[in-house]
C-alpha cells in the first residue's frame, strides 16, 4: 500500500517536468517581451535589461538555468515586481488562496453529498425537483456573476458581511468568497450524487438487501451509499483543483490578496518566471489532489484495490 503511494508520487515528477517544460516554451512563443509595457526604451537600456535577466542567452540555456534553479527551490526573480523573488510573491498570497479553496471544496462536498442523497431518497418528489432546480442554476452561474450579486445582497443591502478593506485574520471576510466559489461545485456534486444514488437504488444487490428485511436506513447507508459515491469521488480531484485555481475569480471580485492574480497579471505582463512559478505550484497541487482522489476511489471499490 505504502509502496503504491510512493510509486505514484514518484510518477508525478516526470509529469510536472513535462508540464513545466511545455509551459516554458509555449509562453515564450507569445509576441511581446516583459519590458514592452514601459515607455519606449532605448536599445542600450533594453539590451542591459535583457542581459541582466538572462534574456539574451539562447533559449535552451535559459531553460537549463531555470530547471537548475527550480531544483534548488529558487523560482527566479519576477520581471515585473522588481526586487522580489517569485517564491516570495507566491508565498505571500498562497496561504490565503489555499484556505479559501480548500474551505470551498470542503463546503461543497459536505453540503452537496447529503443534499444529493436526500433528493435521491425522495426521488421524483417536490424535494427532488426543487433541489435539482437549484442545482441546475448553481452549476450554470459563474463565480464572477454570483460573487458580485452576493456582495450586492449580503454586503450592501443587508450589510451582513464586510466586502471591502480586507484584514487578515478576520474570517467574516471569507464567508462570501468561499460560498461563491463552493456553489457550482456543490451544485454539481449534489446532482451527481443524486443521479448515482438513484441508479444504485435500482440495482439487484439493493433489492436483495431489501428482501432481507433490514431497515431502509441500513439499506441506504451500508449497501447503497458506497457504490453511489464512486463517481462523485472521481470528481473530487478535478473539483479541488478547480476550486483552488478558480479562486482567482473570487479574489478579484472581493479584492483579496491571494496568489491567483499573479497568474493572469503575470501572463499579461509577460512575467515569465512568475507565471512559470504559478504553473508549477498549482500543477503540483492538482496532481496531488488527483492522486488522493484516486486513493479514496480505490478504497471505496474493493474490486479495483491496488493493482
Amino acid at each position: 500500500m505504502i509502496s503504491f503511494v510512493l510509486r505514484r508520487l514518484a510518477g508525478l515528477v516526470p509529469t510536472l517536468f513535462v508540464l513545466v517544460t511545455i509551459s516554458f516554451f509555449v509562453i515564450r512563443l507569445a509576441p511581446g517581451s516583459p519590458f514592452d509595457q514601459e515607455q519606449k526604451l532605448s536599445p542600450e537600456v533594453r539590451a542591459n535589461l535583457d542581459a541582466a535577466y538572462g534574456l539574451d542567452r539562447p533559449l535552451y540555456v535559459q531553460y537549463m538555468r531555470y530547471i537548475a534553479g527550480v531544483a534548488r527551490g529558487d523560482l527566479g526573480p519576477s520581471f515585473r515586481y522588481k526586487d522580489y523573488r517569485v517564491t516570495e510573491l507566491i508565498a505571500s498570497g498562497l496561504p490565503l488562496s489555499l484556505t479559501i479553496g480548500l474551505a470551498a471544496a470542503l463546503l461543497a462536498f459536505l453540503v452537496g453529498v447529503p443534499l444529493g442523497a436526500w433528493a435521491a431518497w425522495r426521488a421524483n418528489s417536490l424535494v427532488d425537483h426543487a433541489l435539482m432546480g437549484f442545482s441546475l442554476i448553481g452549476v450554470v452561474l459563474p463565480g464572477f456573476v454570483v460573487g458580485p450579486v452576493l456582495a450586492l445582497v449580503f454586503g450592501i443591502y443587508w450589510r451582513l458581511f464586510r466586502i471591502a478593506g480586507y484584514e487578515a485574520g478576520d474570517p467574516g471576510f471569507l464567508v462570501l468568497p468561499v460560498v461563491t466559489l463552493a456553489l457550482p461545485v456543490m451544485a454539481y456534486v449534489a446532482r451527481m450524487t443524486r443521479d448515482s444514488l438513484v441508479d444504485v437504488l435500482q440495482s439487484n444487490f439493493v433489492r436483495t438487501a431489501r428482501a432481507k428485511g433490514i431497515s431502509p436506513r441500513a439499506v441506504l447507508m451500508r449497501h447503497a451509499l458506497r457504490p453511489a459515491l464512486i463517481p462523485v469521488v472521481s470528481y473530487l480531484g478535478p473539483a479541488v483543483a478547480f476550486v483552488v485555481t478558480g479562486s482567482l475569480v473570487v479574489e478579484s471580485v472581493f479584492g483579496l490578496p491571494g496568489s491567483g492574480r499573479f497568474l493572469v497579471q503575470g501572463a499579461i505582463d509577460r512575467d515569465y518566471p512568475l507565471v512559470m512559478g504559478m504553473i508549477l505550484v498549482y500543477g503540483a497541487f492538482t496532481l496531488v489532489c488527483n492522486l488522493i482522489a484516486d486513493l479514496v476511489y480505490r478504497w471505496l471499490d474493493p474490486r479495483v484495490r491496488l493493482t
Partner: protein, 269 residues
C-alpha cells in the same frame, strides 16, 4: 419531448428572436451615447427599458448585442469542438491499441490542467481583441470532453456483436464506419454538443471578465458583467441585467441538452 425541454426551446427561440430583432425594436444603437440619461435605471422614458450604463449606452441594445455575440461564439465554438472531438475520439476508439492509448493520454494531460492554465497560455499567445482567435481558442478547449465521449462510445460499439455480424456479412470497414458507427454515435454527439454550448459561452464570459475576451466597442455578456460589477453599489441594474440574461440563456441551453440526452436514454429501453 418533455415539458421542460419544450419550455427551454421556447425560451431560447424568444431570446434569439429578441436578439436578432433588437436593431428594429429599439431606437438606440449599442454604442450610441445618450448624454441626458447617464447611468439611469430601467424605465420607460426615452425607451431605455433596461436602463443605461455609465456612458449613457442603452443596456437593452448592448445586452442584445452581447447575446448575439455570445450565442454566435458559443455555437461556432461548439461546432469546432464537435468536429475535432468526433474525429479524434472516433479514430482513437476504432483503431484502438497503441494509437488509442497515445491519443487519449494527450487528452488526459490537457484535461488535468485546470482550464485556468489553458486560458493563460492562450491569452499570451494571441493578440488581444482578435475575435477569430478567441473562438478557435474556446473551441480548442471544448473538444476534450467530446473526444472522450465519442471514443468511449466507439470503443463500446466496436465490441458489440452487430459490428462482428456486419464484418461476417462482408461489409467493408468504411461501410461499417459510415452505416453502423456514425448513426449510433450521432445521437450522443448532438446531445453533448448542445450541452457544450453553454459551457463555451461561460468560458468566453470568463475570458471577457478577465479582460481577455471580446474588446470594445463590442460587448459580450462577460464584459458587461465586469463593468456592472464595478458600478454595483450605485447602479445595480448594470450588473443584474446582464447577469440575468446570462443565467436564463445558460439554463435554457442546459435544459435543452439534458432533455435531448434523457430522450435518447428512454428510447433505448
Amino acid at each position: 419531448m418533455s415539458a421542460r425541454t419544450r419550455i427551454a426551446v421556447a425560451v431560447l427561440v424568444t431570446i434569439a428572436g429578441f436578439a436578432l430583432a433588437a436593431p428594429w425594436l429599439t431606437p438606440w444603437a449599442p454604442d450610441a451615447l445618450d448624454w441626458q440619461h447617464l447611468a439611469s435605471p430601467p424605465g420607460f422614458d426615452a425607451a431605455h427599458w433596461l436602463g443605461t450604463d455609465r456612458l449613457g449606452r442603452d443596456l437593452f441594445a448592448r445586452g442584445m448585442q452581447a447575446i448575439r455575440v455570445s450565442i454566435a461564439l458559443g455555437v461556432l465554438a461548439a461546432l469546432v469542438s464537435v468536429i475535432i472531438g468526433v474525429a479524434w475520439g472516433a479514430t482513437a476508439g476504432y483503431i484502438g491499441g497503441r494509437v488509442d492509448a497515445l491519443m487519449m493520454r494527450f487528452v488526459d494531460i490537457v484535461y488535468a490542467l485546470p482550464y485556468v492554465f489553458i486560458v493563460i497560455i492562450l491569452a499570451t499567445l494571441f493578440p488581444r481583441g482578435s475575435l477569430a482567435a478567441l473562438f478557435i481558442a474556446i473551441g480548442a478547449v471544448g473538444w476534450l470532453t467530446m473526444a472522450r465521449i465519442v471514443r468511449g462510445q466507439t470503443l463500446a460499439l466496436r465490441q458489440r456483436e452487430f459490428i462482428d455480424a456486419a464484418i461476417a456479412s462482408g461489409a467493408r470497414t468504411s461501410t461499417i464506419l459510415w452505416r453502423h458507427i456514425v448513426p449510433n454515435v450521432i445521437g450522443v454527439v448532438i446531445a453533448y454538443a448542445t450541452l457544450t454550448i453553454p459551457q463555451l459561452i461561460l468560458f468566453e464570459s470568463f475570458l471577457s471578465f478577465l479582460g481577455l475576451g471580446v474588446q470594445e466597442p463590442f460587448a459580450s455578456l462577460g464584459s458587461l458583467i465586469n463593468e456592472g460589477a464595478q458600478e454595483m453599489e450605485s447602479s445595480p441594474w448594470m450588473l443584474l441585467v446582464p447577469a440575468t440574461l446570462l443565467t436564463v440563456l445558460l439554463v435554457a441551453f442546459n435544459l435543452l441538452g439534458e432533455g435531448l440526452r434523457s430522450a435518447r436514454e428512454t428510447r433505448r429501453e
